[in-house]
Symmetry: C2
Subunit: 344 residues, 2 copies
DNA sequence: CTGTTAGCGCCTTCAT
DNA sequence: ATGAAGGCGCTAACAG
């Protein structure tokens, strides 16, 4: 046993098994055909006795295979991201990889920082669910040949594997549902659009679905998260202007849906009664809130899982052109979008 | 620039700056007093030009300082764990550490496996929010001198830093609140107690608070997560037996509270009306569910943050005896525990 | 101030 | 079938 670190090294094992490090290394890598039965047993015993565990650090240094996957998330507290994380994690567990987790807190320079950091840990691939990046950073990454998979959001003009929702179909279905239910004034509430393609796509599909309908009013607004007062003001204003016709709200993601629901609560607006409410992302509590909240559920867990699988394929050398995986959403109808007959 | 890995190494920088690796290393470690202005500038330029980033792997191998923290979580999808994670992550970000995340899915052998794995990555400390561990594993860890901080749950007879809730006070306060509100039959619903000290402590405090009260009935039951039918049956049975007196339920944690609420929904039992409901752990949607759900909020974020800080202290050499940090909970009263006057 | 030398723990030729 | 030697990228003496 090595005196200083307290941990046995490959040399200690070799010594204990009365052999050289090479054979132990072979043993560790499963090259048993190159080992006599006797030697193999000695090594097994030595490892057991010394409680030896190979150092992934040293291994990674030498071979480049660290079995580490980097994950960059914009905001872990977001329920969507959490489920994505959950899927990725399960896939990691299944494939023997470990996750290095980085939360950028939606800050752009953190993103840059973590990208660097992860590559300095020699991760074998990077999964990203946060995109504010500019070309400079990306080029560096691309040169490094580090496989990268984007989740949910993608980057314009940057060819890269992507896993995301079929935003167009989903947003159209959501809008159509509200129209079918009789709503005639619909407010699309989004976090600031920025360069987040997801938000743009959903909004565009919403507007496209509405533009044909001369009998219905479409409005849109951007609000940052955690601005309850502003949100409340917006909702009150919207409702006040259209209270004579069935009106509804679409929230662009789960985090926002929560805040919208809270604001409505404070305004004493009952969803499903006074106003319709539909939110992207399924929420575990959606059925418990009043008459329930209609959601556009994404197969988040499976998307996370799939993202890691895609990364693994790249790690194993697949160099097919970048692939864009588009998953279908599912509209889960609950009481918040109850049917409105005219004037009711 | 190194041909094979595509990444510049310290040697490349040394060459480009026309100096030796040592000086570059010194530069990297901020030992500027040992570098002439001229040399320093050459190095700066070389690093810039080569886009050099030191390999954390190699660094870790040599110095033992990997700046990596291992985190073992029983179940990331648990809201409690998520917020803990969130706090830990923030503390990591603030201190320049990176998280290696492992989710055991509540499986004991995974726990063992990950403990090994993390130490093989030379993490500098391990944070654990999942405890099924037995002595064998722990002893190995303890010998390795790897700092470890337990969160929420602790292990009997294993002296170790712990960050947790003041379960006794919290559970007493919760129970007392229900009694004060007039409830006279209270069911304590827990996940299987197992060796999870947290659940035991909360139950014990509940029973202690109830035992003095000859006028009130205390019951308890254990249910595994995701057994909706059984849960429903239990609740129906409990309510049916005590519907003539104000009765209430305490759920031992947030995950369970969600399931209890769902079961009540299906049974058409309205919390705050037909039955009282109080759950450990604050839920972001607690105020939105019917008249709101009364919760016992834990300062989860700060607890996670504090856990990492404690780990840092150990990393920096603090060898004071194990410290048990007990944080106070806060009862957040909502409509689900509305006051019951007799017979109403 | 600066460079040389020797490893950290492991894997990989290349001999034997 | 086995082992010795060299090196991955970095740091830490030890000289100058």
């Amino acid at each position: 046993m090595n005196r200083k670190s307290g941990r046995a090294t490959i040399s200690d094992v070799a010594k204990a098994a009365q052999t050289g490090k090479t054979s132990v290394s072979r043993y560790l890598n499963g090259e048993f055909d190159a080992l006599s039965d006797n030697l193999r047993q000695r090594i097994t015993a030595a490892i057991e006795q010394l409680e030896y565990r190979p150092s992934q650090m040293a291994r990674g240094l030498k071979r480049g295979r660290t079995r580490l996957i980097g994950l960059i998330i914009a905001d872990i507290t977001n329920p969507y991201s959490l489920e994505i994380l959950s899927g990725i994690e399960a896939a990691c567990r299944a494939s023997g990889f470990t996750l290095l987790m980085c939360n950028t807190n939606n800050e752009l320079d953190q993103e840059r920082h973590y990208l660097d950091l992860l590559s300095s840990y020699q991760v074998e691939a990077i999964l990203v669910n946060a995109v504010g990046m500019r070309e400079e950073v990306l080029n560096r990454l691309q040169q490094s040949l580090l496989p990268m998979v984007l989740i949910d959001r993608k980057i314009a003009d940057f060819p890269c594997d992507v896993v995301g929702l079929d935003n167009k179909t989903a947003a159209s279905a959501a809008t159509q549902h509200l129209l079918d239910q009789g709503y005639r004034a619909i407010l699309f509430i989004s976090e600031p659009l920025g360069t987040v393609n997801t938000r743009h796509e959903r909004l565009r599909a919403f507007e496209t679905s509405m533009v044909h309908r001369a009998d219905a009013i479409a409005e849109r607004v951007e609000v940052a998260l955690n601005q309850p007062d502003e949100l409340q003001r917006l909702l009150a204003d919207f409702h006040q202007r259209y209270q004579h016709i069935p009106c509804a709200v679409i929230a662009v993601n789960g985090a926002l849906t929560l805040q919208v629901a809270r604001a409505m609560r404070r305004l004493n607006l009952r969803w499903g009664e006074d106003i319709g409410l539909l939110g992207f992302d399924e929420l575990e509590w959606a059925e418990l809130a009043g008459p329930g909240i209609t959601t556009l559920k994404q197969p988040t867990f499976r998307m996370g899982y799939a993202a890691l699988q895609q990364a693994l394929r790249r790690i194993e050398g697949d160099d097919a052109p970048p692939e864009e995986q588009i998953w279908p959403g599912e509209l889960i109808i609950r009481g918040s979008t109850r049917s409105r007959t005219e004037g009711n």
